[in-house]
């Protein structure tokens, strides 16, 4: 039982505690809501459709770019720990890796992947 164990206990305990509070308040509520009380709010007008839809994520190119950089983050965690031991070599290696990724970012910027309307 170290710190990670405590983290796990806390995670589960918080999930249960806050879930139960809401559940208790939901079941002790005074009455079932009527149909109009459950109409989703959009300013007072009645919705025609369910809001759930296959949302057009126009920033998907940016999301792909995130994947590339996120993989780089995975390498950087161990890299940061051994950085001082490995010295200048580690700095130059990571710099090269990152610069290649940054080229990707600049390309995405030029292609207007960061704006969608």
């Amino acid at each position: 039982m170290g710190g990670i164990g405590a983290a796990l206990v806390l995670f589960v305990a918080s999930l249960i505690a806050i879930g139960v509070i809401q559940w208790v308040w939901a079941v002790t509520g005074e009455r079932e809501l009527t149909v109009p009380e459950r109409v989703p709010f959009a300013g007072g007008a009645e919705p025609e459709f369910h809001a759930w839809n296959r949302f057009h994520i126009r920033y998907y190119a940016m999301a792909l770019l995130f994947l590339a950089f996120d993989m780089e983050m995975v390498f950087m965690y161990p890299w940061a720990v051994v950085f001082i031991r490995e010295g200048l070599l580690a700095l130059i290696e990571m710099l090269m890796f990152i610069l290649i990724l940054v080229v990707g970012m600049v390309y995405a910027w030029r292609e207007k992947s960061f704006e969608w309307a």
Binding site: P36, E37, G44, E46, E48, R54, F55
Partner: protein, 426 residues
């Protein structure tokens, strides 16, 4: 009940979350209500305990007001302010007094409904499904096949091509009339693909009845004191700025603008400039407004007052008035034509207006059937600036991201009370 009464004891003197339905003649009054102690005007009825119906509404508004009433989570109570028609929606109390009186009534009603001294209001609309769906279809949920029918009462969104030629889901949704990002009474039916608006349609414009004629409406018929006209203009612009700041989430500076709109007097140019410095420090320009809402060059903005002048069109009827020429009036303009230019334009006009009011003495202006109002040029028998804006909303809003659309709509300052297009009441 022990816990309930203890919670009620703590909550009863707390801040009252109010959802405001603003009818004719009460837009300005709501600004003053925001400053009232213990009142918090909220954007969603789910957060509210008090429904405030201020000013006059038409019969068309009934359905939507009942909807927001029922959407309030409760314990809920309805308060009327001014002379709203009791036929629109039943009200527990109706107040005709000033803001301090209505604030006191709201706090009292909240106190009573929270403690259980008065029963929370029952829903107004009948408890029936909008569409018959229970028991329909293979699983009794109203659906047929993958996306057909009306599962759980509503169909699933339509599909439509996007601008790249792909077939994608498109969600048509009517927003308004009491959505806090729009002028009260405006209902837009937007078709959303993701957060981008593919189509816009103005659904209804006749929910808010015109309030009593203000100083600008009076100036159509007879000359009025320039001092009164310009102070009203300054107040209008400051309230508009407060709304813009609220939409942009700069609550602290918005409160300053609201206070200034109440306290400002003729000649008070400095406070307006100090406010503008606070606005600049809030980074409103780079974060939110810059390059948003630039109108295409072929859009006719003549007669739209600050919107036109923010796009370098020195179009202002005050230049042809002797009274204004005497005190050295010259229209101010901006060059960029974006939402920030409209903001600075209104700030500059507010500062200019208090300056003019300070110099005007007892000079009068207008009275010839034409008035340069804060939202543009009003002419007897001609469409109002709001009419012009409403008629072009569908083209200028198409293709915008939702947040930018809200910024854009607000930056055009649409006064729904002066809309006559599709409005039999006017």
């Amino acid at each position: 009940m022990g816990l309930r009464s203890r919670l009620a004891h703590l909550a009863k003197t707390g801040e009252v979350p109010v959802f405001a339905v603003v009818g004719g003649g009460y837009r300005s009054a709501i600004h003053r209500l925001r400053l009232a102690e213990g009142i918090h005007v909220v954007a969603s009825p789910r957060h509210a305990a008090v429904l405030l119906i201020a000013g006059t509404l038409t019969e068309t508004a009934t359905e939507s007001v009942k909807h927001v009433h029922d959407q309030m989570a409760g314990p809920r109570v309805t308060v009327g302010w001014g002379h709203p028609e009791p036929t629109v929606v039943p009200m527990r109390v109706q107040v005709t007094g000033d803001v301090s009186e209505v604030a006191a009534v709201i706090r009292r009603e909240f106190h009573d409904v929270v403690t259980g001294a008065i029963p929370p209001e029952a829903p107004l609309l009948p408890d029936v499904d909008a569409v018959e769906w229970r028991g329909v279809g293979p699983y009794g949920h109203g659906g047929t096949g993958m996306t057909g029918g009306t599962p759980y009462g509503r169909p699933l969104p339509l599909r439509a091509p996007d601008r790249d030629g792909l077939e994608l889901d498109q969600l048509p949704v009517a927003v308004g009339p009491w959505f806090s990002g729009f002028p009260p009474g405006l209902v837009l039916r937007v078709s959303l693909q993701g957060d981008v608006v593919q189509e816009v349609e103005v659904v209804s414009t006749d929910l808010v009845a015109a309030g009593p004629a203000g100083v600008f409406a009076q100036a159509l018929q007879e000359p009025r004191l320039i001092r009164d006209l310009e102070m009203a203009r300054a107040r209008h612009h400051l309230e508009w700025m407060a709304d813009a700041l609220l939409i942009a989430g700069v609550d602290r500076v918005a409160v300053r603008a609201e206070r200034l709109a109440v306290a400002i007097g003729p000649g008070d140019v400095d406070p307006v400039e100090r406010l503008m410095r606070a606005v600049r420090r809030s980074l409103l320009r780079p974060m939110t407004l810059r390059k948003v809402g630039v109108l295409a060059p072929d859009v006719q903005v003549t007669g739209l007052g600050p919107v036109a002048r923010a796009a370098e069109l020195p179009d202002d009827r005050r230049t042809s008035e002797q009274g204004y020429r005497d005190i050295g009036f010259r229209p101010v303009t901006q060059t960029a034509g974006d939402a920030w230019a409209r903001f600075t334009q209104r700030a500059a006009e507010a500062a200019q207006a208090v300056g003019l009011a300070g110099r005007a003495g007892d000079r009068r202006a207008f009275g010839n059937g034409e008035v340069e109002a804060p939202d543009g040029l009003h002419r007897v028998g001609e469409p109002s600036p709001a009419d012009t804006v409403i008629s072009m909303l569908d083209t200028i809003l198409t293709g915008m991201e939702w947040g930018d659309l809200v910024t854009m709509v607000h930056s055009l300052d649409i006064d729904m009370e002066s809309v006559s297009v599709g409005n039999p009441a006017v």
